[in-house]
Symmetry: C2
Subunit: 327 residues, 2 copies
Amino acid sequence: MYESGLVDAVMIATPHYDHPPEARKAFAAGLHVLIEKPAGVYTKQVRQMNEAAAASGRKFGIVYNQRMNPLYVKLRELIASGELGEIRRTNWIITNWYRSQAYYDSGSWRATWAGEGGGVLINQCPHQLDLWQWTIGMMPSRIRAFCHFGKHRDIEVEDDVTAYVEYPNGATGVFVTTTGEAPGTNRFEVSGDRGKIVVENGNMQFWRLRESEREFNKRNHVPFAAPECWKVELPPFGRSPEHVGIMQNFTDAIRHGTPLVAPGEEGIRGLSISNAMHLSTWLDDWVDLPFDEDLYERELNRRIAGSRHSKRAELQSAAPVDLSGTH
Amino acid sequence: MYESGLVDAVMIATPHYDHPPEARKAFAAGLHVLIEKPAGVYTKQVRQMNEAAAASGRKFGIVYNQRMNPLYVKLRELIASGELGEIRRTNWIITNWYRSQAYYDSGSWRATWAGEGGGVLINQCPHQLDLWQWTIGMMPSRIRAFCHFGKHRDIEVEDDVTAYVEYPNGATGVFVTTTGEAPGTNRFEVSGDRGKIVVENGNMQFWRLRESEREFNKRNHVPFAAPECWKVELPPFGRSPEHVGIMQNFTDAIRHGTPLVAPGEEGIRGLSISNAMHLSTWLDDWVDLPFDEDLYERELNRRIAGSRHSKRAELQSAAPVDLSGTH
């Protein structure tokens, strides 16, 4: 198909491991590419894909449809424009990914190192891992993560994660996720020098300081005083165009040169955080970003070698699954 | 006064370091003792105080007035009675302790190793550190903490903390606190095998699964199904009697043998968590509980030796401070 001359662009929605090699084939054939998330399973293969994309000069997008969500668009815009001041702390509790054993048993490739290359971080969380850095415009500089593998379910990969991060400016953050809890939480809190924003239950709450905390602290002489804080009501948010929006934006980029909302090259960011969380757990130590990609690949390969998943098992698993509840 | 024969009981509200030695003097004189929080600065001195209390046979209480708060009383009761099932995760964001530099400058003993023996953990958080374990009925088994010392203010001690904990049953938890943010958050989330409770803004939100997640998972065969979840409205909560309640309970214990809501011996629990958070940061490593108390004391003493606070400085700081906003 790539070489048929009948298509200008492809959307790659294969299993995770195959995103980078398929994309590279498509770029080699001069096609534009839109890949599903995650960009790949390990950053080394994704870096090679990014290089192929750059060399091809074709459009390269990733289906980060949550970047179309007006809540996160507004959060990013408020932060980029300085309304929240310098970022001090992020905290994302994203535990509403309930998956029963029946879900994991529905495909032998699921939740295996050989089949998926990870668990809740690689399958359920790519959107949040992307938004976590995209909204604040900052990647962590180091990570100390605590992944639990097969804690709630009979699986090989992580189904429960708590991670602590530090950013280059001294800010700190926490990311908590699991597929084992019901009912979960989806709450993203960001605090800065000028206030705090909480995105939860499809709403945004915004508290804004009248002056920056730093300025207040400098001039204040009253021991228990605090800066004046406003609870701000924002105008109503519209609906999120989600996948339709991403597809339209990709088409517009090809046809009219419109900037991509989710350039494919940025898929490596969330994946770097995800890989670093695995690596920190495996090493039981800090991981600085950027991390040693060869080391990650070696550690992953050790787990793939011991994985219960094999090609034979994959062929046996042919039962169709209702995917209507997934993303 | 202890030996005067004129008093039956004393309340000790001295600086933190002096709680244990003063309590021991009072017990030696045969008095009942109610101490302010924290129980002391390091667990070794608190353990000695607890032994003196036990040997004296007198009543020993601690001013954990938040144990009188009907929200936390109800949380504890719901968990103890099994309504939430086995605990899976705790998450407390307690960052609404805004303190400006003017606060820290109001007393030279404040926020010093020699004067206070710690920062936000020892001064602002003792209630939450106690409630964190009291409500769920479980102490962490190990802690990995990330304290930042003098991050937001010109002080020696911690003013910004993120800690990850693991419990004996495999549950995990996060505790985040700071005095540097405005407006902060006070949100305590607990999830269990039977649902989730969030205490925030003086309210409790309670989601209860109709059957335990474990039982559901065992019998379920539908990949994307989840257990039926009820949002439960609890009857209104009354006001918290706080300090008045603690004082009355202490008096009732002496006069009528009423069980203490906050036995003094339990002060060591929250302090153990606090000490372990310091120690984990200083060692940049895990700390198992119970930890090496002599090691903690040695590490603390090194910091006291280098502390900017001295007795001379204390004498110079005589300016009265309006404490109406504190606890």
